[in-house]
C-alpha cells in the first residue's frame, strides 16, 4: 500500500503528534431515554477523554451505551446531564446552529452504512462538508487524500457503482478532507468483508500515524479494535475497562470476561 505522506498544514495545532492532550472530554455524562417507569439510562455519569492524534476504540455489548456515547460526544444527540467538550468548546451548551457548524468544520463522520448521498458522485460526496459551508477544498490536500485512498479513478462514479469497500473509502476521504479535530467512526467495517474492512482500518490507522488525525471508533469486532491505540470498554452505561496496545486476542479475552 502507498505510504501516506505528512500533509502540509498551515494550522498544525490540531494535527500534531500525541502529547496527551484531550481532543474531546466528557464529565458526568448522563443520557436517559423516556420518563418514569419506562426510563432507560443509556449513559450513567461517564467520565471519559479521547486523546488527540490517537485511535481510540469504544467496545461493549449491544445496549452498553457505546453508540450513545459517540453520538453525545459528537454533538449528534443531546445530553441529559453533564459536560461534553470538543477541544475547549462546551458542546452541551451549543445551539443547533452552532452544533451544525461544529460538525461541519471540526468533526468528521464515518457511518456503518448509508454513508454517501446516492445522487452525488464520489468526488462530490468527498467535498460535501466543504461545499455545505461554501468552502473550496485545498487542492493539494484533496489530491493527497484521494490518492492515498486509491480513489483517483473512482471520482466520477455514483455510490451504487462502487463496491462496499470503495464506498467506505469515499467516506473516509470525506472525513479526512476537512482536517477535522476528531473523526467519529460508527462500526466503519460492520458492513464490509474482512479484506475491505482491514483495508479501511489500515487507512484510519495511517491517518493517525502519518497525519496525527484523532479518530474515535465504535466497534464490536476485536480485530478492528486491535488497530486502536486504546480500547475503552463500556457496559450498562459505565466505563468498565481500558486496554492499551490491544491485540485481537487480548480484546477478545476482555470481552469474554466482561460478558461473564
Amino acid at each position: 500500500m502507498d505510504q501516506l505522506t505528512k500533509p502540509q498544514v498551515d494550522d498544525a495545532e490540531s494535527l500534531r503528534p500525541s502529547d496527551g492532550t484531550m481532543a474531546a472530554t466528557a464529565t458526568g455524562l448522563t443520557k436517559t431515554y423516556g420518563k418514569g417507569d419506562t426510563q432507560v439510562v443509556a449513559l450513567d455519569h461517564v467520565d471519559i477523554g479521547f486523546e488527540a492524534a490517537r485511535l481510540t476504540a469504544i467496545m461493549g455489548p449491544s445496549g452498553s451505551g457505546k453508540s450513545t456515547l459517540m453520538h453525545c460526544m459528537a454533538g449528534l444527540d443531546a445530553v441529559t446531564e453533564g459536560d461534553v467538550r470538543v477541544g475547549d468548546t462546551r458542546i452541551s451548551e451549543l445551539s443547533d446552529k452552532e452544533l451544525t457548524l461544529l460538525r461541519r468544520q471540526r468533526l468528521g463522520f464515518i457511518f456503518q452504512a448509508f454513508n454517501l448521498v446516492p445522487t452525488l458522485t464520489a468526488e462530490e460526496n468527498i467535498l460535501l462538508p466543504l461545499l455545505l459551508g461554501g468552502r473550496e477544498p485545498d487542492p493539494e490536500w484533496k489530491t493527497q487524500v484521494i490518492n492515498s485512498l486509491k480513489l483517483d479513478d473512482r471520482l466520477h462514479h455514483r455510490p451504487d457503482e462502487l463496491s462496499g469497500g470503495q464506498q467506505q473509502r469515499v467516506a473516509v476521504a470525506r472525513a479526512l478532507v476537512t482536517r477535522p479535530d476528531i473523526i467519529f467512526a460508527d462500526e466503519p467495517t460492520g458492513n464490509l468483508d474482512s479484506k475491505s474492512g482491514h483495508e479501511v482500518l489500515g487507512f484510519l490507522r495511517r491517518a493517525v500515524d502519518d497525519w496525527h488525525q484523532t479518530v474515535v471508533m465504535v466497534t464490536h469486532d476485536p480485530s478492528a479494535a486491535s488497530y486502536a491505540d486504546l480500547v475503552i470498554f463500556l457496559r450498562d452505561g459505565h466505563v468498565v475497562g481500558r486496554l492499551e496496545e490491544p491485540t485481537s486476542d487480548l480484546v477478545y479475552d476482555r470481552i469474554k470476561s466482561l460478558e461473564a
Binding site: D77, T100, P118, L128, D186
Partner: protein
C-alpha cells in the same frame, strides 16, 4: 446554498420517473386552468370578430327602443313600413331589413326534422344586400314564396340537395318548399352548430305568424357622419324606435357573447380548481412520502454539517423546480387541452370557427401562480418537517416523523374549513354578483379548504398516503 441547489437538482435528476409523476399531478391542474382561459379567450375573440365582420359595412341600426339599459336577446319587432321611411333618409345608400324566427324548421327528405338539440334552428329573410354577411355558394337566392335556402354545414350534414322539395314546419303546420340554394355565413359558415334557413321576407313573416313585422333595419351611409345619420333617422322614426350607432350594437352583442362564454369558462375553471385542489393534496402527501423515504439522507446531511435551513431550503427548492416545470409544461398542456376540447365540441356538433390561440399575459401569470404557488405551498409543511430530522437518525434505523399536536391541528382545521366551504359555495352558486367576486370566492374557498384538509392530513395520512403513494413505493428513491 449552492451545494444544496446542486443536491436538489441531482435528487430530481436521479429519480426521473418520480419527478415526472410528481410534476404530472400539478401539471393536470395547471393545464385545466390554462385550457379554460385559452378556450374562453379564443372563443370570445372569435365571436367578437364574427360580430364585427357581420356588421363591418353597417353604420347604424334601427331597432325597437328598449325600456331597459340592458338589451336582451329578443328585441320587440318593429313595423315593416319603417323600411321605406328609412330608405328615404338623405345619405342612406344601402339598407338591410332583417326579420328572424325560431318557429320555422325544415324537414329532411326522410320526414325527420333536423336535429337541433345542440344549438338553435333559426330562420331569416333573404336580403340581397352588400352589407349582409350571408352569401349564396350554390344555386340562387329565394325570390319566390315557395323557395328557401339553407346553410351549407346543415345541408352537408343533413343531406339537403338543391332543387329538391322539402317540407318546412311553420307556426301553422308544414308545407312544401323548394330548396333553391345554399348559403354561407361569413367565410367559414361558423354558426356554432345552429341551423340557418332563409326565405323571402313575406314568407318568413307568414311562417312565423308575424305579418308586417321585422326585427331591425341595418343602414349603410358611407358619406354621412354616423351621429348626423342617427339624428336624421331619429327625426323620422316613431318614439318607440331608435337609431343606434352600430359600434354600440356590436359592443352590446360582444358583451352578451362574452357573458355566455364566460359562464361556460367559469364551469371549466371550477373543474380546474377542483383539479388544482386535488393535486395540491396529492403533492403534499407525495412530498411527505418522499421525505419519509429520504430521512436517512437528510439526517446524513445534517450530521455532515447541513443546517436545518439548508435542508428546508433544498426541499423547497426541489418543489420550486417541480412547480416551474409543471407551469411551463402545463401551459403547453393547457393549449393542447383547449384545442382538444374545441375538437370535441366540433365532433359533438357545435361548429366552432377556427379559433385563435390566445396566450394572454393573465393566463401565463395564473399558470405560474397556480403551478409554482401550489407546489411551493404544498411543500412548506413537508420541508419544515424535513428540517426537524435529527442528525442522529443517520445512524438509527426506523426514525419516523411525529404527527405533531393533533388536537390543535384539528381545531384550526375546522375553524378554517367553515369559511372555506362558505366561500366556495358562494363562488359556485351565488347568482347575482359579479363574476370576479364569485371567482375570488371560489379561489379563497379552495385555498382555505386545502389548508384545512392538509392540516387534517396527518390524522389520516397513513392510510391515504399509502394509498396515494402506492405507485411511488415502487419507484426507486
Amino acid at each position: 446554498m449552492r451545494s444544496m441547489l446542486r443536491l436538489s437538482l441531482r435528487n430530481l435528476a436521479g429519480n426521473r420517473l418520480r419527478f415526472i409523476l410528481t410534476t404530472f399531478a400539478i401539471l393536470v391542474g395547471v393545464s385545466f386552468v390554462v385550457a379554460s382561459f385559452v378556450l374562453t379567450d379564443g372563443l370570445i375573440r372569435t365571436f367578437d370578430e364574427l360580430v364585427e365582420d357581420a356588421n363591418a359595412d353597417v353604420d347604424v341600426e334601427v331597432r325597437a327602443r328598449s325600456e331597459f339599459d340592458e338589451i336582451d336577446f329578443t328585441l320587440r319587432p318593429i313595423d315593416e313600413a319603417l323600411i321605406d321611411v328609412v330608405a328615404e333618409v338623405e345619405g342612406v345608400e344601402e339598407i338591410w331589413p332583417t326579420a328572424s324566427s325560431t318557429k320555422i324548421l325544415p324537414v329532411k327528405a326522410n320526414g325527420e326534422p333536423i336535429k337541433t338539440s345542440l344549438a338553435p334552428a333559426f330562420s331569416g329573410n333573404w336580403v340581397d344586400s352588400s352589407i349582409s354577411p350571408l352569401t349564396i355558394v350554390e344555386g340562387e337566392a329565394p325570390d319566390e314564396p315557395s323557395e328557401f335556402v339553407i346553410d351549407e354545414t346543415t345541408a352537408d350534414r343533413e343531406g339537403f340537395v338543391v332543387g329538391e322539395v322539402y317540407d318546412v314546419i311553420g307556426s301553422d303546420g308544414s308545407e312544401p318548399f323548394t330548396l333553391v340554394g345554399i348559403s354561407r355565413f361569413g367565410e367559414e359558415n361558423a354558426l356554432g352548430g345552429a341551423v340557418l334557413s332563409s326565405f323571402t321576407l313575406d314568407e318568413l313573416q307568414r311562417l312565423d305568424g308575424s305579418e308586417g313585422l321585422i326585427t331591425v333595419i341595418d343602414v349603410a351611409a358611407p358619406d354621412v357622419e354616423r351621429d348626423v345619420l342617427v339624428d336624421r333617422l331619429t327625426a323620422v322614426l316613431p318614439d318607440d324606435v331608435e337609431a343606434v350607432d352600430i359600434s354600440v350594437v356590436v359592443e352590446e352583442a360582444q358583451s352578451d357573447i362574452s357573458d355566455i362564454i364566460g359562464i361556460f369558462g367559469n364551469i371549466l375553471l371550477a373543474f380546474a380548481l377542483v383539479a388544482v385542489f386535488v393535486s395540491t393534496f396529492i403533492i403534499s402527501n407525495t412530498f411527505n412520502i418522499l421525505l419519509g423515504q429520504r430521512v436517512r439522507q437528510l439526517a446524513l446531511l445534517r450530521a455532515l454539517g447541513a443546517s436545518a435551513a439548508q435542508v428546508r431550503f433544498s426541499a423547497i427548492f426541489e418543489a420550486l423546480v417541480v412547480g416551474v416545470v409543471a407551469s411551463v409544461v402545463g401551459l403547453g398542456g393547457g393549449v393542447a387541452l383547449a384545442l382538444g376540447l374545441r375538437g370535441l365540441m366540433n365532433t359533438l356538433g357545435f361548429d366552432m370557427p377556427s379559433m385563435d390561440i390566445i396566450l394572454a399575459p393573465r393566463t401565463i401569470v395564473v399558470a405560474a401562480v397556480v403551478g409554482i404557488g401550489v407546489t411551493l405551498f404544498a411543500s412548506l409543511s413537508p420541508a419544515r418537517r424535513a428540517a426537524t430530522v435529527p442528525p442522529v437518525a443517520a445512524m438509527r434505523a426506523g426514525f419516523r416523523f411525529g404527527s405533531g399536536e393533533g388536537t390543535r391541528r384539528t381545531i384550526i382545521a375546522i375553524i378554517l374549513s367553515v369559511p372555506g366551504v362558505a366561500a366556495m359555495g358562494y363562488g359556485l352558486f351565488a347568482s347575482s354578483d359579479s363574476t370576479a367576486l364569485k371567482l375570488a370566492g371560489l379561489g379563497a374557498g379552495a385555498v382555505l379548504i386545502f389548508v384545512a384538509v392538509s392540516m387534517f392530513a396527518p390524522l389520516f395520512s397513513s392510510p391515504s398516503a399509502s394509498f396515494l403513494g402506492a405507485p411511488l413505493e415502487h419507484v426507486p428513491g
